[in-house]
């Protein structure tokens, strides 16, 4: 490109986005670098928030037994959805795996929180959004993008009624 002398008083837009390389160490790039640094500070703060929320406000464990439904309401191979009254609104599913075998899991997929459903024909839990599959027995990930198992509740059946409690490994 032929050399052109610099303008005496260039308009603002020309000063902000110069064509000539020797004018290009300009406020716009300086500000961009500062903005990147500001973003970096924001990410560090975000990381601090993760630490704070995990240690200062840990998730409370479910207390006591909570009634879900009568055993006759869910046939073998069936599934029902429920939420526990008086707690943070988390959707759960109750699965009647086989005679006397019940399981309860959170219904939110651990990938992007889509609602998971029990598929009795393959005896697995499916997340239809991104083809994620979980074990209906333990809630472990079998396939797909979910990074973690489904959170589980313990199921207690008493007097033809189904209750759930906080999950305890020794119970199952």
């Amino acid at each position: 490109m032929a050399y052109e002398p610099k303008e005496e008083n260039p308009p603002n837009w020309k000063r902000d986005f110069p064509i000539r390389q020797d004018e290009a160490t300009h406020i716009s790039r300086r500000e961009f670098a500062k903005f990147l640094c500001l973003l970096s500070g924001g990410l560090a703060l975000g990381n601090g928030y993760v630490v704070l929320s995990s240690f200062a406000f840990p998730d409370k464990e479910l207390e006591g037994e909570h009634f879900v439904c009568n055993t006759s309401d869910v046939p073998v191979g069936g599934m029902t959805m429920f939420a526990i009254q008086g707690t943070r609104e988390i959707p759960y599913i109750l699965i009647h795996l086989s005679e006397g075998e019940w399981r309860a899991f959170e219904q939110k997929c651990t990938h992007l929180s889509c609602a998971v459903v029990y598929r009795d024909e393959v005896k697995k839990i499916e997340c239809p959004c991104h083809n994620g599959w979980f074990s209906a027995d333990t809630g472990e990930v079998l396939q797909g993008p979910p990074p973690r198992s489904l959170p589980q509740l313990s199921v207690v059946v008493r007097d033809e009624k189904v209750y759930v409690t906080a999950f305890n490994d020794t119970v199952s």
């Binding site: 160490t25 300086r30 630490v51």
Partner: protein, 92 residues
């Protein structure tokens, strides 16, 4: 006595351009690592491995201060340098 800033202001614009590009690239690299750290911390905190969140936070904070320190070496605007040269305010 001449310092880094003075020497930088007297340098050829090609040099300051390269320095600017280098700093921006480093900052983008720092941001990418921080995004990865935040993602790992979140995923592990949800899986009840909270200790990783502390390590990620400390790492992220160190990276942020590194970025802040890098800003010290950002070249001045040409406009300001030219104005200072004309008035002679800086090198008297």
């Amino acid at each position: 006595m001449s310092d880094f800033r003075e020497a930088q202001d007297q340098a050829h614009p090609n040099k300051t351009n390269t320095l600017m590009l280098g700093i921006i690239m480093l900052l983008i690299g720092i941001l990418s690592i921080q995004i990865w750290l935040l993602y790992s911390a979140l995923n592990n905190a949800l899986d009840e491995n909270e200790d990783i969140a502390i390590a990620a936070f400390v790492g992220s904070l160190i990276l942020f201060f590194t970025g802040l320190w890098l800003l010290k070496y950002l070249p001045d605007t040409r406009r300001r340098v030219n104005e200072e040269e004309q008035t002679g305010s800086k090198y008297q």
